[in-house]
């Protein structure tokens, strides 16, 4: 351990904020504040300048009627009112929710199974980890082509295999009812490696002695999974869920590449609507307003998770 650092035994800098007072305590306080700033500013400055500032710019645009070319015109909340009365807004939010609800359990359980399997001492596990990561680095253009081919209703591999078992496979991406499940399956497949990498890193933090102790106590594989591994993995799980939901609500690339929102708008999602409003219809104000509606939804979902984590996430 690297804790044998010799040094003057001055009172340690407290982790809590020192009480407000005058004299030397105030100096400690000022030094503490400087420490906080030193750790925080390297990230806070770029985020404030290059993400928050443009976000505020976009919020201003949501109050305008603007086609990106002609001078904008201030319209207040009219864009929001219009979107709330437009039935297609509810539709795209529902489709997005459908995607998130289908995608998250699939990718998490699959990624967890993969991480557990590849955390064993298999021969060639490094190579396997590389192979399972390949889809993560492959572009959606290629992945969508392959999955459209696999899920082709008449000639695709999936329906061919289903037919062997006497099952008449669905129309997948050509069928309005199956377009979203097709996108969900392809997305979960592509992102398995992402979840695997995060969970593999988390698994490295689990002390093997704890698993050995549980084994000595007679706990079987499932008992060890649910009573030892999953609780100790909960910080990584929490991370995967929060990130997957934030990204999931902004799903776009795979929809664009696999179905283009079709058939008949059956798989059209929020960000696609934002994209179309901006670049196809030149309605920058509407697009901004829709983005802010999406933002509020994602923020609410994330805040609920941050509050809820105290019940199930255990650190160190």
């Amino acid at each position: 351990m690297t804790t044998s650092i010799a040094g003057p035994s001055t009172p340690a800098v407290a982790r809590a904020v020192p009480p407000r007072s005058t004299g030397p305590v105030r100096r400690t306080r000022a030094r503490y504040a400087l420490t906080v700033l030193a750790f925080l500013l390297p990230s806070a400055i770029p985020l404030a300048l290059f993400v928050l500032a443009p976000m505020i710019g976009a919020a201003w645009v949501s109050l305008l009627k603007w086609n990106l070319l002609a001078p904008p015109q201030f319209v207040g909340l009219a864009n929001y009112v219009k979107l709330l009365h437009d039935p297609s807004t509810g539709q795209v939010f529902l489709h997005t929710l459908y995607y998130v609800v289908g995608y998250l359990p699939l990718v998490y359980v699959g990624g967890l199974a993969l991480a557990l399997a590849l955390n064993t001492r298999l021969k060639g596990r490094n190579l396997l980890r590389g192979v399972y990561f390949l889809p993560v680095v492959t572009s959606w253009i290629v992945v969508a082509l392959v999955w459209r081919w696999l899920l082709n209703p008449s000639t695709g591999v999936v329906n061919t295999v289903l037919a062997w078992f006497g099952i008449h496979g669905p129309g997948w991406w050509t069928d309005p009812n199956w377009a979203m499940p097709s996108i969900i399956i392809a997305s979960a497949w592509k992102d398995l490696g992402f979840v695997m990498v995060i969970l593999l890193a988390g698994l490295q933090n689990i002390d093997p002695d704890l698993l050995d102790a549980a084994r000595v106590d007679g706990a079987g594989w499932w008992r060890r999974l649910f009573n030892v591994v999953l609780p100790l993995l909960s910080p990584s799980t929490f991370f995967v869920i929060v990130i997957s939901l934030i990204n999931g609500f902004q799903v776009f690339d795979q929809v664009y590449a696999m179905t283009g929102g079709g058939p008949g708008g059956a798989s059209e999602v929020v960000v696609q609507q934002i994209y179309d409003l901006t670049f196809r219809y030149g309605q920058a104000g509407n697009a901004s307003a829709l983005s802010w509606m999406l933002f509020v939804v994602v923020l609410a979902v994330t805040v609920v998770q941050i509050i809820g984590q105290r019940r199930w996430v255990t650190y160190g």
């Binding site: 351990m1 804790t3 750790f39 990230s43 290059f50 993400v51 990498v197 593999l200 902004q250 901006t278």
Partner: protein, 294 residues
């Protein structure tokens, strides 16, 4: 990567001298696991295999089922790809930007993660929520305001302009915060008693103990920069400044597309990513074993 020399990558072997795999109920379970992992690996490898095959098939189309063995395999597409003029330079641009992004993000993420995990300050929860909120607006929407801002700074057509918005990543900060939270606080307390301040605890206690997470972030930072398309496209307009994804997108013609070149470009773009991944993975696994947490 000693395991990579095994002829079949999907063969599993139990070694009784080291830790048993979690499923130890018998050979049946192991066989099932082997088969499932092997089938999965084939399914995972398939799109990449398709990419490679298409790239060595002159005049390949994408409408039909891919032929697994091309009639006249040729590396011609790769030669034509590298003959395109600033292609080599564009690869170097991508590489430089990805390395710079990764180094800076590792620094800004680790320091912020330390602050959110180990420093108590008023409004910490709110500040963290604001950080997370920066991930919740689609990039497509930020492009126009960001472009105007960078133009005012005079940073269009500069590498710095392409880099600045990637200097801090809420994703990376969140990832590392989860890892720092798992470093036992007894370690800092012992160091504090020895007179170490926050900077020392950060460098000597926390950083060595979160190596798996740092390696993971290296993979994702590099990948996000390497694959990023929209922002470099907007800010870097000169061909010799442009990056690989933009060059690859330019290969898809308006009327006809030479898919063998597109797929060759795809292969070229995936390989460095895979190298970084395999390199960093070693540290994901080794990290904790060396760090004295046990």
């Amino acid at each position: 990567m000693a395991d990579a020399t095994v002829s079949s990558p999907v063969r599993l072997r139990r070694d009784p001298t080291i830790e048993r795999p979690p499923i130890s109920r018998g050979t049946v379970a192991m066989v099932v696991l082997n088969v499932v992992i092997a089938l999965g690996a084939i399914a995972m490898f398939f799109p990449f295999l398709w990419t490679i095959i298409t790239s060595i098939t002159p005049g390949a189309g994408l409408t039909s089922t891919p032929a697994l063995i091309p009639d006249h395999p040729s590396l011609d597409a790769y030669l034509r790809l590298f003959a395109k003029r600033p292609f080599g330079r564009q690869i170097l641009n991508s590489l430089g930007l990805a390395v710079a992004t990764t180094v800076v993000q590792l620094f800004t993420s680790a320091t912020a993660a330390y602050a959110f995990s180990r420093l108590a300050f008023r409004g910490r929860g709110v500040v963290f929520a604001v950080y997370l909120a920066t991930m919740m607006i689609p990039l497509q929407l930020l492009i126009v305001p960001l472009f105007v801002e960078l133009k005012n700074f005079g940073l269009l057509n500069t590498y710095l302009g392409a880099l600045l918005p990637t200097f801090a990543s809420a994703f990376g900060i969140f990832l590392l915060r989860q890892a720092v939270n798992q470093v036992p606080r007894e370690l800092d307390e012992a160091a504090t008693l020895d007179g170490a301040g926050h900077f020392r605890i950060f460098l000597q206690i926390v950083l060595p103990n979160i190596r798996p997470a740092l390696a993971t972030l290296t993979i994702f930072s590099f990948m996000s920069s390497w694959n990023s398309f929209l922002w470099p496209l907007v800010v870097l307009r000169l061909p010799e400044l442009q990056t690989l994804p933009i060059a690859l997108a330019g290969l898809q013609g308006q009327y006809t597309t030479q898919w063998d070149i597109v797929m060759a470009g795809s292969v070229v773009s995936v390989l460095p990513m895979l190298a970084i991944y395999l390199f960093a993975q070693k540290y994901v696994i080794q990290g904790v074993a060396n760090s004295g947490i046990k």
